[in-house]
């Protein structure tokens, strides 16, 4: 059973607007969360992370929000750009562990 869930397989957004990607997890031992971005024919690359001691982490246009009580996190991309069109994977780990559990991914398409 998947411990990390991304319930929206796809998202289409206009250039310049906000993209919001959602992720839920079930394992209460998870305390470190990451987002990866994947272009076709390439491996995933690390985008941004957040520890459970925080509820927000920001890096340029990318912000991740964590709601521990709801076991929910979201990634905001503002403003969205055509180069942001990719598959985004949410991932989680127990910080004492190097291996990650991934969600199914959300395909983002940014329309010009």
């Amino acid at each position: 059973d998947q411990q990390v869930k991304q319930n929206s397989p796809s998202l289409s957004v206009q250039e310049g607007r906000i993209s919001i990607l959602n992720c839920d997890y079930t394992n209460s031992m998870f305390d470190y969360f990451l987002w990866y971005k994947k272009y076709p024919a390439e491996g995933p690359t690390f985008l941004i992370s957040i520890s459970s001691i925080k509820d927000k982490n920001e890096d340029g246009r990318f912000t991740v929000f964590l709601n521990k009580s709801a076991k929910h996190l979201s990634l905001h991309i503002v403003p969205s750009q055509p180069g942001d069109s990719a598959v985004y994977f949410c991932a989680a780990s127990d910080s004492g562990d190097y291996k990650l559990s991934f969600g199914a991914g959300t395909t983002v398409t940014v329309r010009a």
Binding site: Q6, G43, G96, D97, Y98, L100, S101, F102, G105
Partner: protein, 112 residues
């Protein structure tokens, strides 16, 4: 620039054949991982290794084995390929912050 190299980008094999997928990293990382990526399922962990000669089963190890004879090299072996092993296989390594994996470009395997 850090690099994880997977030996074959595309392979086509027949049912029952033995398949080797090779992965080499040049970052002197202790930890290496094999994932498979399937639509709607995201990335699922097959096997991982935290040290030379060491291996641990991930979430879906059935039908696979691995070998780590040298620190930089982690091989995935399908002893007898089956059609349900048709997938994208991704190798990754890590050595820094937990969870921050560096991925190869992937090996797309088709089993006929």
């Amino acid at each position: 620039d850090v690099k994880v190299t997977q030996s074959s980008r595309y392979l086509v094999k027949r049912t029952g054949e033995k398949v080797f997928l090779e992965c080499v990293q040049d970052m002197d990382h202790e930890n290496m991982f094999w994932y498979r990526q399937d639509p709607g399922l995201g990335l699922r962990l097959i096997y991982f290794s935290y040290d030379v000669k060491m291996k641990e089963k991930g979430d879906i190890p059935e039908g696979y084995s691995v070998s780590r004879e040298k620190k930089e090299r982690f091989s995935l072996i399908l002893e007898s390929a089956s059609t349900n092993q048709t997938s994208m296989y991704l190798c990754a390594s890590s050595g820094g912050a937990p969870g921050e994996l560096f991925f190869g470009e992937g090996s797309r395997l088709t089993v006929l």
